[in-house]
């Protein structure tokens, strides 16, 4: 399929963003893994004619040869069906929904492997004082000024990133909508 925008969702704001882009006349596909497919905002998106892939997972990405663009993505459920779009938006949430993954000494974003900000020294990830702000809360994907994701420090031309997956609680929704719409 060829959409205008494919949102790799899972994060809190995925459907609200999808609906907003849909209402601006874009052809939008929202993919998300797990979580309630009955979320009201997702149902609103579905009812307005948006395409939804609930409980599915992106398992492969076709990159341009020089790695500057995403050419297509594939999901576990749709197997060999290439999903193409002008713009991809990564809005896949944080650790619980597996938008971000972690091991003892690293934190990474599993779909595109884009750059993530975190502390190298894992002994400093948590503050022993439970009620103190937790350092891991500020980990996340680093957006460029154009709201795009970075891979090895270089901006990916057609991959935007937004929502709670971002580091330091950044909210770039308005900026991102302006750029895509």
């Amino acid at each position: 399929m060829r959409a205008d925008v494919i949102i790799i969702g899972g994060g809190q704001q995925d459907a609200a963003l999808a609906t907003r882009l849909l209402e601006a006349g874009k052809k939008v596909l929202l993919i998300f893994e797990g979580r309630k497919s009955e979320d009201r905002s997702r149902e609103e998106f579905r009812a307005k004619g948006g395409s939804l892939l609930a409980g599915d997972k992106v398992c492969r990405v076709d990159w341009a040869e020089d790695g500057s663009r995403v050419e297509a993505i594939y999901t576990e459920g749709l197997e060999d069906t290439a999903l193409r779009a002008e713009a991809y938006v990564l809005c896949s949430g944080r650790f619980f929904i597996r938008g971000l993954l972690s091991e003892e000494d690293r934190v990474w974003e599993p779909v595109f492997g884009v750059d993530v900000k975190y502390l190298k020294d894992s002994s400093r990830w948590c503050d022993p004082d439970f009620f103190a702000p937790q350092p891991f809360d500020s980990f996340g994907v680093i957006p460029s000024e154009d709201c795009k994701a970075l891979k090895d420090g270089k901006e990916v031309e057609n991959l935007y990133v937004t929502g709670d997956i971002l580091c330091d609680g950044i909210d770039n929704t308005e900026e991102l909508c302006k750029r895509i719409i």
Binding site: M1, G34, K36, S37, E38, A47, G77, L78, F96, I97
Partner: protein, 397 residues
């Protein structure tokens, strides 16, 4: 049966999202819910089978819990395997009759001119209700006078003339109850320039046998089907969502069979068609001046596979079709579940909200990929329900 995959249920974080999406939980306080019946219960059952709680029989195997699980736990599979391993069979005769679709379908379609009116008689329904345990209120499907396979043998010659061919796994519903769907499939494939071939030998996929605890019979059917699929040249297309899920996933997840051939070849016709249209290999010419208002109901198993995407995108191609996609809700039938006397009321309660949505839509027809959803929705709303293949076949030139 497949051995327990210990790492699977241990991925459960106890978040209870599965409990929230379970359609049975909403209507039946006796059901402990997918978390407790699945991963939680499994811990106890592994310790001592005496912990088996028979109320897990209420699980519909709709797999909405698996779609919702953020940790990828196959909750439905865990529950089904536990049912098969520990449950004491009840209502054996009735369950055998309901799940032996080849046997019963074969008999009933042979004697269809007599069987249909007799099965429809109030007296017969009363006897079936009180003696056999099949609800007299359930919307029973009727049987075809001419089986699909028989019809197909009369046109086989025309199909062999096509250079390119696809195989068709029609399933028992098309063969015994609704051969029209198989005929529509052949018409659509022919319009795309493909001939249709049937498999060497095909049995019921076994979904009902699995649900009713007849593991050995299900395995036998699985082996026959898998052997035919392996032998088949090219793709094996299907028109039923539950058959597809069973062939591609349940044979492995529940019956422990190697279904790599099925994974490679078995494909819903809507996916096969969509992919070819998307790649520009096939172009459908639609009739002009169409004006249809329809709603699409996503069957739970379709959502589990994610393949409703193909049906919806294909339907969007039809000019003049005003389509709205209904909120995904379980219709409540769950294969043979809703036909059983003791389950009928529950099954209707689960479906009630979907029926309401459909009535409120003021659509002319409902489109869905599952035959049992079709019966349930037709019974619950009185509206006509069609498979997307039927609709596509009727709107192409």
């Amino acid at each position: 049966m497949q051995e327990n995959n210990l790492t699977d249920f241990q991925q459960c974080l106890k978040c209870n999202i599965c409990t929230e999406v379970c359609p049975m939980m909403e209507v039946n306080p006796d059901y402990p819910g997918p978390k407790q019946a699945g991963p939680d219960g499994e811990r106890y059952r592994l310790k001592d089978p005496a912990f088996f709680d028979k109320s897990i029989k209420y699980c519909l195997n709709c797999k909405r819990c698996e779609v919702a699980c953020p940790s990828g736990v196959k909750v439905g599979d865990i529950i089904t395997r536990a049912k098969l391993r520990y449950a004491h069979p009840e209502h054996q005769l009735r369950n055998f009759a309901l799940s032996s679709t080849d046997l019963v379908g074969g008999l009933a379609s042979t004697f269809a001119p007599v069987a249909n009116p007799v099965l429809g008689l109030p007296l017969t329904r009363q006897v079936m209700d009180s003696v056999v345990g099949v609800s007299s209120k359930a919307n029973m499907p009727s049987y075809a006078e001419k089986r699909f396979e028989k019809w197909f043998s009369s046109i086989e010659e025309t199909q062999s003339r096509y250079e390119k061919k696809v195989n068709y796994f029609h399933g028992c519903y098309v063969n015994y109850n609704y051969p029209e769907l198989g005929q529509d499939f052949v018409k659509l494939m022919n319009a795309c320039g493909y001939g249709v071939r049937l498999l060497d030998k095909q049995k019921c996929c076994g979904v009902a046998m699995i649900a009713n605890g007849f593991v050995q019979q299900a395995k036998k059917a699985a082996r026959t089907n898998l052997a035919s699929i392996e032998k088949a040249e090219g793709p094996v297309l299907t028109t039923s969502s539950s058959c597809t899920l069973t062939l591609r996933e349940e044979y492995e997840g529940i019956l422990g069979q190697d279904c790599s051939a099925a994974k490679e070849k078995v494909c819903l016709a809507v996916k096969w068609l969509y992919d070819r249209i998307d790649r520009g290999e096939i172009r459908l010419a639609f009739k002009k001046g169409l004006k249809i208002k329809a709603v699409y109901h996503t069957p739970c198993h379709m959502q589990r596979m994610g393949t409703q995407f193909y049906t919806i995108e294909l339907l969007k191609l039809i000019p003049g079709l005003e389509l709205s996609v209904l909120e995904q809700k379980c219709c409540g039938i769950a294969g043979t579940f809703g036909f059983k006397k003791e389950n009928y009321e529950l099954s209707q309660k689960i479906g009630a909200s979907l029926f309401e949505d459909i009535r409120a839509s003021k659509a002319q027809m409902v489109i869905t990929d599952c035959e049992t959803c079709k019966w349930q929705i037709e019974g619950g709303t009185g509206m006509k329900v069609y498979n997307p293949i039927t609709l596509l076949a009727s709107v192409i030139e």
